[in-house]
């Protein structure tokens, strides 16, 4: 045997042994490690005010919220630092009683000073969460009458404070350590963050993963059964599925079209039903509604021209539901007691659509620009836009598809450069406070230029919600807002999209919950 042949033989033997070793190691690690494979982690930042809701998946395990929630999005005194909260008779003073004995990962106790610091920091100018504006508008001051008590004083009476600072919305309510941040500074904190959640930060390689390690005997989860939790950035779906098959991830984000294949292989697939709504809208004119969309008949015609059932089946493989309400976030409906009746569903009726256009003097149609772009979690974006444009073509509207990226569309939308053009988003579903925050941006004229509704009646109702102190009245206002959005056809709701997450065969029962951008991994990790 020649020396080169011997070398090749040894190399192959080493490779085989290494392969065997790697397989064994992977299966051994799966027992104490939880690995989550996602297509992206947005900005991958570790500091709540600059992270926002897109990155709650891992941040909600690192930090505790002032106000906790259940997996189905109800505020909960057992899930957050506040064990109870109450408001004053004038609804301008919110008192939160803090859980005792909670410490940050560096051993410092969590006190009212930390909560005050965190909330002021969240509302500061450095924040890019998009929800700090309301806090700045509403909050007058924050008092700390005792180490385990804070009082948030608002400028106007309001009910929204607890929900706004809860896990159900964004990251404003996450509590960070005042002393540590004042010592090391914001930048150092963003690199080596410290929270008080059931998992502490271990390491981050941007573009690769964020690794967390369990905290022993945490009040939220006990001593978690997963010693480490790693969120892996795996942009390519084929690779995520390969990692799932190899046992290297336990939860993998998958597209709707791969669900049946994975189920056939025996991988459980959890659906977060109605995780987002694919909703389209018109770009407004600087002064309001442009022609011809100003005519309600045109807006109705464009809605009834769309075969939502066909779109659900053809584009989304049946893993979606037709949506009846523009910007209608269904996870909020139960909070406000809203039950869209069957009469609110748009029935596909191209003949009626043509008649409505003819009644509006547009029997020959009109030109329409339709922006087409992909979005995170919405790979069908362009195809869906093309499909909807096709329905409009059938009723005589001359559509022109404009492939762009989302920022380019957004610029046209907020600058109102192309009035009447169509854009869309897969808006993440959320509870009533999140739904209100969205409507306050996208259906409220004073919020120019994001407004897409330009309706004085809706403007009035939205302004009342923030200052309303009777929850029943808030619910009534919200129901009326949605009813009017629908009756005036102030947008084109297409479908609620179910998102799919395949899990390993050994993961066990997991309820991903219905909290925006949050898998609610507490229950999965909990030992109690």
């Amino acid at each position: 045997m020649t020396s080169s042949s011997r070398f090749v033989g040894l190399a192959l033997l080493s490779l085989a042994l290494a392969l065997l070793g790697s397989v064994d190691l992977a299966s051994a690690q799966a027992k104490t490690e939880l690995n989550v494979g996602l297509s992206g982690l947005a900005s991958e930042t570790l500091d709540p005010p600059v992270a926002g809701h897109f990155v709650k998946y891992y941040l909600s395990m690192m930090y505790d919220y002032l106000v906790g929630s259940t997996a189905d999005g109800q505020l909960s005194p057992t899930g957050g630092l506040a064990t109870k909260w109450e408001n004053s008779a004038d609804h301008k003073r919110w008192t939160f009683h803090l859980r005792k004995g909670v410490t940050f990962h560096n051993g410092d106790p969590v006190t009212a000073d930390d909560v005050k610091f965190s909330l002021e920091r969240a509302a500061g100018k450095r924040s890019t969460t998009g929800y700090a504006g309301i806090l700045r508008t509403l909050v007058d001051k924050i008092e700390t009458p005792a180490p385990d008590r804070i009082v948030i004083v608002t400028k106007d009476p309001t009910l929204i404070i607890p929900a706004y600072l809860s896990r159900t919305l964004s990251s404003e309510g996450m509590i960070v350590p005042k002393k540590y941040i004042e010592t090391v500074g914001d930048d150092a904190f963003a690199r080596k963050p410290i929270g008080s959640g059931p998992y502490k930060f271990v390491e981050q390689v941007t573009g690769s993963h964020i690794k967390l390690a369990a905290v022993d005997n945490h009040w939220r989860t006990g001593t978690p059964k997963y010693k480490t939790m790693t969120f892996r950035v795996v942009p390519e779906e084929t690779t995520r599925i390969a990692l799932l098959r190899r046992g290297e991830v336990d939860i993998a984000e998958v597209s709707r079209e791969r669900v049946k294949e994975l189920q056939r292989e025996g991988f459980p697939v959890q659906l977060r039903r109605e995780e987002s709504i694919f909703s389209m809208w018109w770009v407004l004119d600087p002064s309001g509604w442009p022609a011809p969309m100003k005519d309600k008949r045109v807006r109705e015609a464009m809605n009834v021209a769309i075969d939502r059932g066909e779109v659900v089946q053809g584009i989304f493989g049946g893993l979606a539901e037709p949506a009846p309400i523009p910007m209608g976030l269904s996870w909020a409906f139960k909070d406000i007691g809203f039950k869209p009746g069957p009469e609110m569903n748009y029935t596909y009726d191209p003949a009626r659509a043509k008649k409505l256009l003819a009644d509006a003097g547009l029997a020959n149609g009109f030109p329409l620009d339709v922006y087409a772009f992909q979005l995170t979690g919405f790979p069908e974006g362009k195809a869906a836009a093309e499909a909807v444009a096709g329905y409009w073509e059938k009723i005589g509207i001359k559509t022109k598809l404009i492939p762009v990226d989302y920022p380019a569309f957004r610029k046209n939308w907020v600058d109102r450069k192309t009035p009447g053009a169509i854009g869309y988003f897969n808006i993440a579903n959320r509870n009533w406070i999140g739904a209100y925050a969205l409507l306050e941006k996208m259906a409220y004229s004073p919020s120019k230029p994001n407004d897409t509704a330009n309706d004085p009646e809706i403007d009035g109702m939205i302004a009342q919600v923030m200052k309303q102190t009777d929850q029943q009245k808030v619910n009534t206002l919200m129901r009326n807002i949605y009813t009017r959005l629908r009756s005036e056809h102030l947008g084109m709701p297409i479908a609620y999209l179910h998102s799919a997450y395949a899990t390993s065969k050994t993961l066990g029962k997991w309820n991903p919950g219905t909290v925006m951008y949050d898998f609610y991994l507490d229950d999965l990790a909990a030992s109690k």
């Binding site: 392969l19 790697s22 991958e44 924040s127 998009g130 504006g133 390969a242 925050a437 969205l438």
Partner: protein, 306 residues
């Protein structure tokens, strides 16, 4: 030689300066980066605050000189998206790309050299024909297709090798092979044609007539003279593999410089785009200089004028 190196370095610096202006302008021409960072419901006040905090509301000239002034000391600013120093992001990702590119180039050399040399020595035989098939496949198979097929079958279904991420030596194999496959084809063809030309030359015939062992004739006398174009090719492709392996890094979830560039471009993260372009240009300049110096080592006839 020293003067040659100094001149080349000066030329590279001038090129980098000109490039900094171009990339600064082009990056900003793509649009507002904040729409990628802020949620869709962010207000104009949120945008104004973020713009002010990130320094994007300053005049363009001020932004440019601030960027250049800090870049000379290795500070490329803060990533708009990640809110981390860009130099830190590059420090995390560049070594991963260097290691992967080195692995890929090693695989390419180990495959291309024997194949190319044997194809030339045994021209017209089955070995030569096999080498040509490898060459055609290497140059025609799209990288993204090869990557996906390897992930789906080798990693996912047969589970022979890791699917993604930088998780150890074995995780280099699939992305390294995918990257190196194209290079094998080109390197092998260049080597084959170079060797064919050299093996036919008078001095090689003389060496054989003088009784020099065939192995020495091929590996010592002939190969050295056929190496120049191969070294050029390898140098060019090494810098390409380090800096622009976007597809491979995306498919294999490899946290490298190519993916950082893609994330910067798709997120309109100006500081990242600027930094990656400058670092890429610097790598290309250094590698090209290294290749030029290597010529002198390989071929003593090459000397750079004083």
């Amino acid at each position: 030689m020293v003067r040659f190196v100094a001149t080349r370095l000066l030329q590279s610096l001038i090129a980098l300066l000109m490039l900094s202006v171009v990339v600064f302008i082009l990056a900003r021409a793509t649009g507002d980066p904040l729409s990628m960072v802020l949620p869709m419901s962010a207000t104009e006040e949120d945008y104004a605050n973020a713009r002010a905090y990130l320094g994007l509301d300053r005049p363009y000239l001020e932004q440019y000189f601030s960027f250049v002034g800090r870049a000379v000391v290795g500070d490329f600013g803060t990533s708009i998206r990640a809110r981390k120093p860009v130099s830190e992001l590059i420090g995390e990702r560049l070594p991963n790309s260097l290691k992967l590119a080195t692995f890929a180039m090693t695989v390419s050399v180990l495959m291309a050299f024997p194949l190319g040399i044997m194809a030339a020595v045994k021209k017209g035989t089955a070995v030569d024909r096999m080498a040509q098939i490898v060459s055609i496949l290497g140059q025609s198979l799209p990288t993204f297709w090869l990557a996906i097929v390897l992930v789906e079958f080798v990693a996912g279904r047969w589970q022979w090798l890791p699917a993604g991420g930088n998780t150890g030596f074995l995780s280099y194999v699939l992305p390294g092979f995918t990257l190196g496959w194209f290079v094998v084809a080109g390197m092998m063809r260049l080597l084959r044609s170079g060797m064919l030309e050299v093996l036919d030359s008078e001095y090689v015939k003389l060496a054989r007539v003088k009784g020099v062992v065939e192995g020495r004739v091929i590996w010592l006398h002939a190969l050295k003279n056929a190496m120049i174009p191969v070294v050029t090719f390898a140098g060019i492709y090494f810098s390409i593999l380090v800096t622009t392996a976007i597809v491979v890094e995306t498919v294999f979830a490899w946290p490298g410089l190519g993916r950082l560039a893609y994330e910067g471009i798709s997120g309109r993260d100006f500081p990242v785009i600027q930094a990656v372009v400058m670092v890429t240009a610097a790598i290309v300049a250094v590698v090209n200089l290294g290749v030029d110096c290597l010529y002198a080592a390989i071929d003593p006839r090459i000397r750079y004028a004083r």
